[in-house]
Symmetry: D2
Subunit: 413 residues, 4 copies
Amino acid sequence: MSESESVEVTGHLMDTGILSRILDDIREYGGDYVIDRFDVGHEAADTSRATITVSAEDDDSLQRLLMRLQTRGVNQVDPGEVGVAPCEQDGVFPDGFYSTTNLVTRIRMGGRWFPVENPEMDCGLIIDFDDDRRPVRVYTLPMADVRSGMNVVVGADGIRVEVPVTEKREGAFGFMESDVSSEKPQAVLVRQVAEGMRDAKAAGKKVLWVGGPGVVHTGAAPAMVALVHAGFVDVLFAGNALATHDIEAALYGTSLGVDLAMGRGVEHGHEHHIRALNTIRKEGSIRAAVESGTLTGGIMHALVTHGREFVLVGSVRDDGPLPDVYTDVIDGQRAMRAKLTDVGFCLMVATMLHSVATGNILPASVPLVCVDINPATVTKLSDRGSSQARGIVTDVGLFLEQLAVELVPGYRS
Amino acid sequence: MSESESVEVTGHLMDTGILSRILDDIREYGGDYVIDRFDVGHEAADTSRATITVSAEDDDSLQRLLMRLQTRGVNQVDPGEVGVAPCEQDGVFPDGFYSTTNLVTRIRMGGRWFPVENPEMDCGLIIDFDDDRRPVRVYTLPMADVRSGMNVVVGADGIRVEVPVTEKREGAFGFMESDVSSEKPQAVLVRQVAEGMRDAKAAGKKVLWVGGPGVVHTGAAPAMVALVHAGFVDVLFAGNALATHDIEAALYGTSLGVDLAMGRGVEHGHEHHIRALNTIRKEGSIRAAVESGTLTGGIMHALVTHGREFVLVGSVRDDGPLPDVYTDVIDGQRAMRAKLTDVGFCLMVATMLHSVATGNILPASVPLVCVDINPATVTKLSDRGSSQARGIVTDVGLFLEQLAVELVPGYRS
Amino acid sequence: MSESESVEVTGHLMDTGILSRILDDIREYGGDYVIDRFDVGHEAADTSRATITVSAEDDDSLQRLLMRLQTRGVNQVDPGEVGVAPCEQDGVFPDGFYSTTNLVTRIRMGGRWFPVENPEMDCGLIIDFDDDRRPVRVYTLPMADVRSGMNVVVGADGIRVEVPVTEKREGAFGFMESDVSSEKPQAVLVRQVAEGMRDAKAAGKKVLWVGGPGVVHTGAAPAMVALVHAGFVDVLFAGNALATHDIEAALYGTSLGVDLAMGRGVEHGHEHHIRALNTIRKEGSIRAAVESGTLTGGIMHALVTHGREFVLVGSVRDDGPLPDVYTDVIDGQRAMRAKLTDVGFCLMVATMLHSVATGNILPASVPLVCVDINPATVTKLSDRGSSQARGIVTDVGLFLEQLAVELVPGYRS
Amino acid sequence: MSESESVEVTGHLMDTGILSRILDDIREYGGDYVIDRFDVGHEAADTSRATITVSAEDDDSLQRLLMRLQTRGVNQVDPGEVGVAPCEQDGVFPDGFYSTTNLVTRIRMGGRWFPVENPEMDCGLIIDFDDDRRPVRVYTLPMADVRSGMNVVVGADGIRVEVPVTEKREGAFGFMESDVSSEKPQAVLVRQVAEGMRDAKAAGKKVLWVGGPGVVHTGAAPAMVALVHAGFVDVLFAGNALATHDIEAALYGTSLGVDLAMGRGVEHGHEHHIRALNTIRKEGSIRAAVESGTLTGGIMHALVTHGREFVLVGSVRDDGPLPDVYTDVIDGQRAMRAKLTDVGFCLMVATMLHSVATGNILPASVPLVCVDINPATVTKLSDRGSSQARGIVTDVGLFLEQLAVELVPGYRS
């Protein structure tokens, strides 16, 4: 272990098991460590602070380990200055590029700290300089969007991240911190999600929904429509399926063949589905179909009539697709990123694909709740790095019904 | 194939896929068949009728195949007369004993038909004779309860079963006929279960609940208590766990460590649990704990104060157990059987073990709904022969909450 | 019900429950029926034949019902002649377009029958005419690819489909017909999949694999590499994830942070992952990385060095992506379709997204086995219309290990 | 918080997240804490040591909190002397009884330490005194077995526990420490379980198996029989189902109707099942059926002919049951406890009920691996307090097949 660096981390370290994960990471990357100092918070409310010397076989390994540790909020004691290298090939970062976290980030240059505009994980850091080579802008950029000549941060030096201060087990989202479970008092959870949405709206922030077709299949469309009316859905990220099934239900009273009124189900009712797609394609867009009077109900109709935004991104299993769907997934990611400004709360419902996609681009500072009947969806999200994600394993239809009762005066009464 | 028999079956044969399953059974038992006649129902509402010659290698195989087919409602065209053999050893049926179905059953003796008292699957048929060897009583008896000298039906001759007439896709339970699914409009399902319970009560029948500890963990205890108060829980079958967690919650405000008021959860809170058990054991019974004022809330308290019945049967993983628990499972089965009279509706919630146990002893004529967040529980029940079982894959907590809103005036208002 | 049509269906109708599903469809579409004639197969091996008059409220509903029934192999007794209408808008079919099945299909024109080139479900049927307006080519085309001026079949007249003759419960894939189950003797299943692959190769057909990243995570990459070497992988359909994790494992000995040699796992090891992507992007393609000596092992390396084909189609959750990935999903679908010629067997492993996508475009005549530890993946495929799909719920890693032992002489010895 | 106590804990505290769980427990019990001292292990291999003052509202709450913390290996700095109270009622512990952990435990009396004989969680501690009231024996006893007049430890004073020294991420079972996952390289896991069994046998210890009927359904019976022959199954804990399905397969070549040779499955083949039960009941016992030549193959036959032990404990869903089955679950627990001596390795396969039951009574010092295709089974075990449990989510049939290949020379060759 010829290379080493002194790092530090502050927070409710033992409380949250974060130190355990840091040490795991070091071993995982073939590194070693000595804990130089550990100032423990004496009272329950105090934070702790650890100083650790981490070492690795060579500088390349060390730099990569330091980047990995930053995803946990671990910073170098003596950060130094950022290294910069030019991009030499469109869509390719220079060797040793700094791989970002989704935490609030600053970089140090010329002894001064500059904030990073839009924290997003697994990106590069780009610096725009003025003529005196002073930073005027620092921002994350996904690999596909980097262009030759851009200034890219390399190595782990000169970068600090900040973990959101979670007041453990207090406030709106303490409840779900311990783990993912289907054995939780659900009524309390519904109420707390409602509070999270109200808080976001009260703070002038947007509420982002990410949804899968299960929203329609479970009969939750009326509840979601009511929530759109009441102003609790500012943006929707979804795929072709949610929108098509919603429109199919509005046009033919079915969703993949489920007769919603009678609670009957059959197999994939391919014919309704494909015909609904053709109808909207003929109109040119969902908005056009609403304006022409072809589409008169459902979630998409409500979003259009209330001027809410939606981004539909396609997948390889799509039929059609709807004319509003981004068929290029990288274009779709860009469109989603463009709607993240001012999002203050995110609810993910019944979709693994779009939930993970949104988790990939969302800053860690946005409260995030994921609701699914399948525990794997919820677990996957946390494993992918959305550490702020809180999971609720429950029935999506009944959950949204209850949420509408909480948030929409007069709903179901 | 040296032995053969002519059998018949009537009903919505193609509609329900029943004929497909009959032919599968024949193959499964190594038999063969010729369809002699098939009178198809022309209109959608008409029933069909098939006459089939089934054959097998020897008479023993044929008899067993005929018994198997009776579980599908297939009867011999010429039933003949029942064979009877004496039980020669306690707890052991004679060779070739008739293995029962859970369908309405009659036996033929001396040219007359006698009804079987209590249809239950996988039992033997016992005949009590009067002094002239005329049947005075015919009833099912589980293997463990047969006693030397009893008259046991052997072979498949002289027996007719009747499949309940299900008006396919009509009435209260048409909705769930097609399959088990988590993608169903749940609000409709809640309403239909509520109707099923009201119908049973209106007909003077009892509503049987079978529950697991998930009822408590999901925070549904208040909803279930309200349903007990409102008269929609006549009998509860459960294990040591549901009762202990309910009592633990009542005594300490926890359930396996879940703080119900705040929605927080931790791991197995063994200490509360074991102390709650000791407390009730000291009192001598749950009823005694209610009467002494030790136990003042929860599901078990509600059942005791409203004079409702419960049967708690233990399992090998139990702590304690509570003094009311049958530790001998065969005794427990007997106690459960004794409560089945006049049951007109059965709701199974969040338990595989006790659901299967109840499915084993319940006549096919009792409407049966199984609610669980785990699809496997619901599937298992149907596979085990409870063909009338309708499954709802949903969150138990929210489901019972909604059910209480439907059935209990003023609940949550 | 003012409109009606006489239809017929032939096959092991009762055996397979197909008639039950047909009658369900009729009800689902609000239609009615009379069974005019039912010629039942007397012996077990005989086929049955039913003639049914179906009716609907109006001709539009009737036509759509007839299309739905064709997915079950139901044809009109008097097919008549196909209707044709011109496409008037790129990417939009004319009203009343015929929605295709994945069955072998013929159309009737001028009293003659013309075969459809490439059966695929949920498409339109396009006819190319010669100067005398005689059909020279009839083929399926997805909605997105139709162009103004093309001749599109409308209505259900003049079309016949053929259900593949499944010798029920005989031959290679009889084993899995009954249902999806994790409780099956797995060794037998492995052997039968091996036979299916050998049969396809012996017939000069290609073996298509559809895989998810679980192939790498479960440690099955060496087994799959051995199967590539042995010639049992002709084409691979996958996403960015399988290829990236495979390449990450080859470059860094990890897969999402799993240390494969020691069986240890951690959370999303984002840094390795994103760096592997950058490395291949720098090379320009996976093939270039193999040729430059950068990539020296793993599944993708084996495919390249053996000259096998692969189609990687992106999704909205992708990082990078690899330069070989189709980022436009509709382009990706086209690339997949182009590789389907001569496919004689399809194995889907550990992916829901790409399995459903492949099921959407694969003719029903190609044997199809889906292996996943999650029962929902397997069920979903059948529900979407891939009725030939056979599901095996098992561990992907051990399954592929056993498959390699069956198919590759000397593997693991 | 009027009552407080100084406690200490030693080990890889941050590494294993144990401190985080300790602080959670304190909060859960309504207590508070001050960390007085934290001596951190500087090198990765060093252990840490924390001294904490915990406080609670009253002494009763404090005592219970201290008991809870002992399940984490937390001891009082100044242990004091055990309190003892007499049992006054059969089957009921005195108020304030000490609730045991499954850790190695000692009690202090008269300034001397006495070891506890058989660590088991959720029991009481009984002390047998000699005539001079000096302890001659200290042992755990379940609530149901305590008798009036016995000396029971009360309160948390005078008791020390020892957490097994796990050399984190080293040795046979480091591999599975991080979590339960279906995405793990399975071949490595099989090999490591094989090593664990060989180590136990080499140390002169017994290998305990706990199995469910899935062992038979997945076709793993031949592999398990080979492992019995090879000496790797010393004791089997199971229910009526495993044994009955195994015997049914031996007698009729079926298991719940699964035709093992052909890989075909059907629904619950009730008739075979019930007839197999009757056959063994007629013989009087499984051993008698083996000796009379009635039962000639399968797992139970192998156990009998090799003189291995088995304990079958019934459940409320059982048919029959077999004559060897304990129908009283408390008797069954006693029989299981009696077989735990010298168990050096425990493998749980395909059963939640009996796995939890065994986890309840097994000391934490016995290595424990749980294999199931259902992640919930594996998770449940850890949640219930078997912290040493390592989970493998995989296909049981293929896993046991591979295990036999590893352990039995010549198997499948």
